[in-house]
Amino acid sequence: MKRSRTTGSSAAKKQPDLFQEPEEKKLSPSKKKKEEKAETIVLPVPEEKTSPAKRTSAPRLPKQREISVSEFFAKNRHLLGFDNPSKALLTTVKEAVDNSLDACEEAAILPKLDVRIDELAEDRFLVTVEDNGPGIARKEAPRIFGSLLYGSKFHRLRQSRGQQGIGISAAGMYGQMTTGKPMIVISRLGANKPAHRFALLLDTKKNLPVIASEEEIDWPLEHGTRVAIELEASYKAGHHSVDRYLRQVALANPHAEIVYRSPKGETFRYERAVERLPAEAREIKPHPRGVELGTLMKMLKETKSRNVRGFLTTEFSRVSGKVADEILEKAALKPETSPARVHRDAAEILYRAIQKTKIMNPPTNCLSPIGEEQLTLSLKAHHEPAFVAAVTRPAAVYRGNPFLIEAALAYGGPSFEADQQAELYRLANRVPLQYQKSACAITKSVIDVAWKNYMVPQSRGALPTAPMAIAVHIASVWVPFTSESKEAIASYPEITKEIRLALQECGRKLGVYIRRGRRLAEAEKKKSYIEKYLPHIGIALQEILGLSDERRDRRMKELETILEKSRKA
């Protein structure tokens, strides 16, 4: 296992920081290109005794010691979503489910997931997630699940759920640390291949998987993977619950069938709302506007291009020869300069030249929206609402990163209680966001929309109060989270604008619907009022005046005409 020199904090951090790591790619560039799944980055971290979370720029101390993965993990649980027992349970489910869905989609299989949580003791749970994905090759399985930061999604610019490759193995390690039990993986590649069952432990010192046991077993699924992790956790109902999370996963992935058995023994079955896989997300090269200086320097070092002009045209999207010439002219660099010789200062000049040059927006076919139709079907299946509206906005760009906003809302129907705030689903690359609701650009944008214009009451600074669910999805090759824990979207103006436009479009449709409904209800109420109470006026007049039945009925006919006339007027 190769070890790269990266810092602990950045490895666990969001992606751009990883791009900035100057040396990690150098160690295995060729291998990575050929075989995506084999890339390995090992957590930490050299040269710092005190805190692994500190930046590389900290002064190096004379005595250096390796920090084990477990030490790093123990100190940085919160970065990976294991801050407390109930969050640990959610994170474990989340990582396993993300992995399963990504695996199925990459193999073009309609996902069928079986999620089960068993309460073994008050603070002990067993999480089992089974998918019908392509399965994992026998020799890959231990490393995929048994070492941190081993994954296929790590460095590509492509819309996917998981981004860091920490997830499932971190969950396994958390389980191992809290219960001492190995993670159990069962996987099978096809009908004529055997199913393998592994019990995996992680050697936290070496970041290597240890196979506690391995055997061939009979398994009913033709292909697929099952992961079971025992961990210390607590199960809570409510806003941050696993139940709610999985419901939202189903909502954001209408092409997936999910069966979930909760620790209380209830079974939730989310059927497929659509029988079609989403369009495959394509991988793209980075857009020059989207890279930061550190990343640019790293790319200059690693490129196979022999001159800087070729570097610009091959490593980036939307850079034609003409654009490259323009950039180089502004940077006062000769086109034939070797990229390896562009050092820090020159790189910074190049970076600035890129910012000053007009470059076409990145291609947007790398994005895979859920789709208006699918969102509509999904909300209908989940809420049985009286009204649904969904909007997929055209792709847009923030800081060189293509992104796309979708919004949908479901209004009315039996699933909502009156006088409650609207339920908000925040989705990023089809993954529901559970925490840090108020810090999220989606929440802020929903609050900023003037819902009263669409006949929906709203208190100042709050979500609208209506029997309504709002779903907002951001699809992007790089979703800008506010922090490492990936729980809230950063408020880039380009993003909030797109969210607002999408919501307003849905809102306008809702307003039309509500107004029409009110008019009809009003007319209906009046009509039924007349039908209900008019006869009593007749009865009373007859009793007081001793009218004949004919005369009574004639008068009531006349009265009805009078009221009908005034109703229309």
Binding site: Y533, H536, I537, L541
Partner: protein, 377 residues
């Protein structure tokens, strides 16, 4: 109803005149039918029943209704109440013609037979009864509706002359001879006669204080008639005291809790009537009533134990200072209520027990009654 008013002004004391209600109901219904046959929306005209539509007539001594009315036109939105009002009128006509009566509660249950036009709660049907009352400017007893509330209790120096319901024979009820009990004021008091040598009527808010005064035969020492209201006085209670005081020319002293409720709700309603039944105040008021206590000044003078005013008390007091025509007419009352608000406390009648259980009989009442001129108006 200008006629009734005039006649009431001329000869005192006024008598509630039995008006031919059935005829009025018929003519109102005819009106409605006629409008319909002409293709017009029928309407009913009601006097507005609220404090804003009364003025305090100090010479007459009661809240008099001002002319403001509201027209309830039959539209889609009012069709339900309109139907209910008409059905209530039909019920009233039937009661009057068959010489029957229904309590307000019974009327509510009768409506359960009206299908969609039925009332779901009694307050709804009470409101409609009061509407009809106001519409015809009569009291509900004339419509055949009677309240089920108790009229109040009487003990002391009084003989009530009633009639036997079957024989019509005269019955003499001696209110001195109820021992530790009391005579109960009937719902209708118009036919009663009175014999008394008492010097005044003492009207008491709480049953507890009334019991104490009865038990110790205070009426003997004070040579008076004791009446217990039990909270806000019912119409029958007000009418009883009024007729008694009018026919026997007796002063009426009122002894209630020293709080905004006792002053503005109980005492004021007894003396000048209410905003809700303004068209009837002429009969259901006791203009000769005077406020004996507990006054805000009593709290200071007698060093009474107090409770802090609640928010509703303060709101009630401020509302009275701003909107109650009776309070607005009397500077003395404004000063007294302001004093109460400033002290921020209230004192109950029974607070006098601090100085001994019979302090009220031995000291407080005798001292007060020696100086009726000091009573609040």
């Amino acid at each position: 109803m200008p006629k009734t008013k005039k006649s009431a002004d001329r000869k005192k004391p006024p008598r509630i005149r039995e008006t031919p209600v059935a005829g009025k109901i018929v003519s109102e219904a005819k009106n409605v039918e006629e409008k319909i046959s002409k293709g017009k929306k029928p309407s009913l005209r009601f006097p507005i029943r609220s404090l804003r539509n009364v003025s305090y007539q100090s010479q007459k001594g009661f809240f008099e209704i001002r002319g403001r009315t509201k027209e309830r036109t039959l539209t889609v939105n009012t069709v339900k109440t309109f139907a209910q009002t008409l059905r209530m009128m039909a019920l009233s006509k039937e009661l009057v013609e068959t010489d029957d009566i229904a309590t307000k509660r019974e009327a509510y249950y009768v409506s359960k037979n009206w299908g969609d036009a039925r009332f779901s709660e009694q307050p709804e049907s009470d409101t409609v009864i009061e509407d009809v009352e106001a519409l015809f400017r009569v009291n509900r007893e004339q419509l055949g509706f009677i309240p089920e509330e108790k009229g109040g209790d009487v003990a002391g120096e009084l003989v009530v002359v009633d009639r036997d319901a079957e024989t019509g024979e005269s019955l003499r009820i001696d209110c001195r001879k109820f021992g530790s009990g009391a005579y109960s004021i009937p719902i209708s008091v118009e036919h009663l006669g009175f014999e008394t040598k008492a010097e005044f009527v003492l009207v008491i808010e709480t049953a507890g204080m009334f019991q104490r005064l009865v038990k110790h035969n205070y009426w003997k020492r004070g040579n008076c008639i004791l009446v217990s209201m039990g909270g806000v006085p019912t119409r029958a209670c007000r009418r009883f005291i009024r007729r008694l005081a009018d026919t026997k020319k007796l002063p009426v002293y009122v002894f209630v809790d020293g709080d905004p409720y006792g002053i503005t709700n109980i005492y004021r309603t007894l003396k000048v009537g209410s905003g809700n039944a303004a068209h009837l105040n002429e009969f259901f008021c006791v203009p000769q009533a005077r406020f004996l206590g507990i006054t805000p000044q009593d709290i200071v003078d007698y060093k009474l134990p107090t409770h802090p005013l609640k928010d509703v008390d303060v709101k009630r007091a401020k509302d009275a200072l701003k909107n109650d025509p009776f309070v607005l007419h009397h500077k003395a009352w404004q000063r007294a209520i302001q004093q109460l608000v400033q002290m921020g406390v209230r004192a109950e009648q029974q607070a006098l027990a601090k100085h001994g259980l019979n302090y009220v009989i031995d000291e407080y009442l005798p001292e007060k009654i020696r100086h009726p001129e000091r009573f609040l108006p």
